[in-house]
Symmetry: C2
């Protein structure tokens, strides 16, 4: 690639080369491309590109079930891989979710796995044998670019795999795509000058969410059964919520981040974390368990020596739990469908015999303010260096610093102290709930929205008021879809119309929620947050919530 | 206290008020004070201040045994507390190791414990019922000053207990003294304009080591059975080594640091850690177990949810272990007694059936260089603010920054990345030893000196070449005494004399080791380092080493 090319030319070339990696037979007809339905998830089964077998395979949401069928010889790894390569191709053409296409390598790998299976008389490499796993374009795959949304990173060929890539390979997985991110990574959608905008799978009027937006849309399109995202302010949870899928934002030190790229790299006051985004809670469970069985702390110095804890998982599924609930982050009032989702969760849990009490968020804006200061502490140098490589402009609306926001190391230390003091008080408040719960214990976890709206348009300025607290305090969080926007039930009420505007973000959100019709087909996801390093409990509690919702409906 | 007083007056007043808290009957006669023996540890049993019972009590090294005798009614908590208050008083008069004296409160507490014991028909509050525990003067005790070696912090009365203080209280312990630290905390001795210099308990020609030097000397004097120190570059291990006692420098996140004061507070690239200093390995074991049983992660947001792991403890005591051994940190050659201690460890372990292989330290100076950059990243602002409060001068030789060493937040981020990459490579090298051990596993841990000399004089510039690696990488480390300086065996050899000077630190060390006579009675301690968060294994391996040494001798 000539260095005399403009960044626009380089970006265009990358997009074209990506598109060219989609075989002719997998390309959508012009009729669909020119007039795609709002809801892209309808296309795969109707477009005629996927065979009956492809559809059967990709409609299986459960990793264990799919792995079981491969291990039993019902499907070959090649069949599964091809089905997912096809479906990911369809997804990309509709929502622009792929950053790298590795179909050739994927099929080679699948052949290897099938050969292994045959030659060993039916043995598998591990619990993910033959399962395609997608990766956000921060993870390094040897021999492949990791552009991470920057034109300037094109040509940056990885010399090694990220640790998590090595681990999923050791579990038997197949690598086949990397997915889109926003330039800077610090924005709630996946849009870059390099690859353009990723659309919401459920309603193309909206953004995919982000920063792990490519994963969100791809997985909702069933172009992936499970992918790896990252979260520093909500980047796994926003795209999981707005695409109606599941995700885990673990605490720092559970899932290896080593040898992956990131933005604001080296910023450790609020560490970014890696987590799975997927199509069921049991997948999250299986994935985390499988990763931990590989003892990642032996290779990644930042991972804690904490195995899967079955007792904590069971603790999350006790007969009588007490959930805190957040209904307002002090910044943005919940739109009718999100409020309804929260009400459903409360009612379902109470009906199932659990207790739900309000969780006070008076001090949350303080947390978000600290978060922003940490992100902006370098004065934007990290991001500026990255865009300067190509001369591309900086995207707007990212949570990054500017020369005015730069602070000194000493000031950063003071901010760290403030954050620790805040965390101590928060924990104290958490423990004090013991006095008001009926379980004799403090609250077991907190249910919270991800955002005030079910989805948001491109270039929307999301606030992190509902998500950021889990990053500042490194709480474990599991997100799950709860309900779909209802054209009758989610009409704007007088109450919603007349609530006092709480902030600039609130004003924007209230102006955006014009009617349920506008959000047709959108899904509302909620998160269950537990204490730091209580991932197993958060998964268990999310399962309790999901079960309660099923019985309630 | 008038603010018109000079810092010298304030410091003198503090020292006097401290001395006045020692009852008349516990004061050493002038004959001893004017001509104290080199080895202060000889005084307590000879000075006549301790009763037979006081001696019996304070000579018990084992916490469990002492607690057992209290729980059985053989001793009262008051008897034990008084014995320790007396012996700590004697220690202070000889080696100047106390920063706060809380005898009145201690006896009140002991009476409370005895009353509890009587009124419940023989119940104890916990495993430390009636056991006096000492604290480095960084830990807050409600109502007491935490001056931390700064004149300017005088009058700074704590409004709460540090978490670890609350926890030992909940275990039944008695608070009775706080111990000296160096001004800045960033020096390998305990010396301040506020309280003067703390002397080595074994040989008053030498420093107590530091920064947890007050603990080191007090515990070796048997004026404490167990105390809490902190370590950011060797501050638990230096004073443990040069006073011949035991210590645990855990990884970050095992023992709560919350609500304690520290220097360079908010610096998180290389976190300081809290650990016990004590008189046996079984005490370390009991202490860590007891702390973890209280689930400190529920109150301190920085503690990981990791209980005591008996399996890891057993893993450290397997029949066949492989130890790496460090014999040179690339900076300072080992003096004859320290080299002999290392040789003893190697021979004893091999005789006991374990394997010992050399551990390459070629890359260690790089680690120490990074460590220093982290400590100095604020340009010395933190420490400057503290000394400016009173106008006292800054002590010399502390590892702190100056305006020239200040770096930007962005540069600190790059340094964090460099540290993480270093940690990844180190772990890779650790794992690769699997190929050369005879156990089929990588090395289980590393034996290393703490320093090249058995002790060092006041104002000696210690390098952190043997200790700092465990801080940069947050390795777990247990220190234990191995042997005493031998006047015959530790003569200067031609080999030692003729070795090439490796660094400025080496030159100083070689000039300091003039003869074994000079280091008479000094003890050599070694550390056993395990991976990050493998404290239980490090304790187990230290026990294996101690047992092997006993059999070997």
């Amino acid at each position: 690639m000539s260095s005399l090319q403009s960044w626009e030319e380089k970006a265009a070339q990358k997009r074209a080369s990506l598109y060219n990696l989609i075989p002719q037979g997998w390309r959508l007809p012009e009729t669909i491309l020119k007039n795609p339905p709002k809801n892209s998830t309808l296309v795969p089964s109707q477009c005629g590109i996927l065979s009956k077998l492809d559809l059967e395979i990709t409609e299986i949401d459960d990793i264990e079930e799919l792995a079981h069928r491969i291990a039993n010889g019902k499907y070959t790894a090649v069949q599964v891989t091809e089905a997912y390569c096809k479906r990911a191709s369809i997804a990309h053409q509709l929502v622009n979710c792929l950053a790298e296409i590795l179909f050739t390598q994927a099929l080679e790998r699948a052949h290897y796995l099938d050969d292994y299976f045959k030659s060993t008389g039916g043995k598998t490499i591990g619990p993910l044998h033959g399962i395609p796993i997608s990766f956000k374009d921060q993870f390094n795959i040897k021999g492949i670019e990791t552009a991470m949304g920057y034109v300037g990173y094109l040509g940056d060929i990885s010399e090694y795999n990220s640790f998590i890539v090595d681990i999923v390979l050791s579990l038997g997985a197949v690598l086949y795509v990397k997915t889109t991110v926003p330039q800077t990574l610090m924005k709630g959608e996946a849009g870059s000058y390099l690859l353009g905008i990723t659309l919401n799978s459920l309603n193309r009027e909206f953004s995919s969410g982000g920063s792990s937006g490519g994963e969100g849309s791809l997985i909702a399109m069933k172009g992936s059964i499970c992918g790896l995202g990252t979260d520093i302010g909500g980047s796994i949870r926003f795209p999981s919520a707005v695409n109606g899928i599941y995700g885990l934002k673990p605490s720092d030190g559970r899932i290896p981040y080593g040898r992956a790229k990131t933005s604001l790299d080296g910023q450790e006051s609020v560490p970014s974390v890696v987590g799975p985004m997927t199509r069921s809670l049991s997948n999250i469970c299986l994935f985390l368990k499988s990763i931990l069985e590989k003892k990642p702390w032996l290779i990644d110095p930042k991972v804690h020596n904490i195995p899967w804890r079955e007792d904590l998982f069971q603790e999350g599924q006790m007969d009588k739990l007490c959930f805190g609930v957040i209904q307002f982050d002090q910044e943005v009032h919940l739109s009718p469908p999100v409020q309804r989702a929260i009400n459903m969760a409360i009612n379902a849990l109470e009906k199932a015999g659990h207790q739900v009490i309000e969780w006070d968020t008076t001090d949350h804006p303080q947390a978000i303010e600290m978060l922003m200061k940490f992100f902006q502490a370098d004065g934007g140098k990290d991001v500026q260096k990255a865009v300067d490589l190509s001369g591309e402009p900086l995207i707007s609306g990212a949570f990054i610093g500017s020369p005015e926001t730069e602070i000194s190391v000493y000031e950063n230390w003071q901010l760290n102290i403030a954050r620790t003091n805040y965390a101590i008080k928060y924990l104290e408040r958490w423990n004090q709930t013991k006095e008001i719960t009926s379980t004799g214990r403090p609250i077991d976890g907190i249910i919270s929205p991800i955002f005030a709206l079910p989805a948001y348009p491109h270039d929307y300025r999301t606030s992190g008021g509902y998500t950021g607290i889990a990053n500042l305090l490194q709480l474990s969080s599991v997100i799950l879809p709860v309900t779909r926007v209802d054209l009758q039930l989610d009409q704007i009420t007088d109450e919603y119309r007349n609530m006092k505007i709480a902030s600039e973000f609130d004003k924007i959100a209230r102006e955006t929620y014009k009617s349920p019709q506008m959000f047709e087909n959108c899904v509302i996801g909620l998160q269950v947050m537990c204490r730091r390093l209580e991932e197993e409990k958060a998964i268990g509690m999310a399962m309790v919530l999901e079960k309660a919702l099923k019985l309630y409906q």
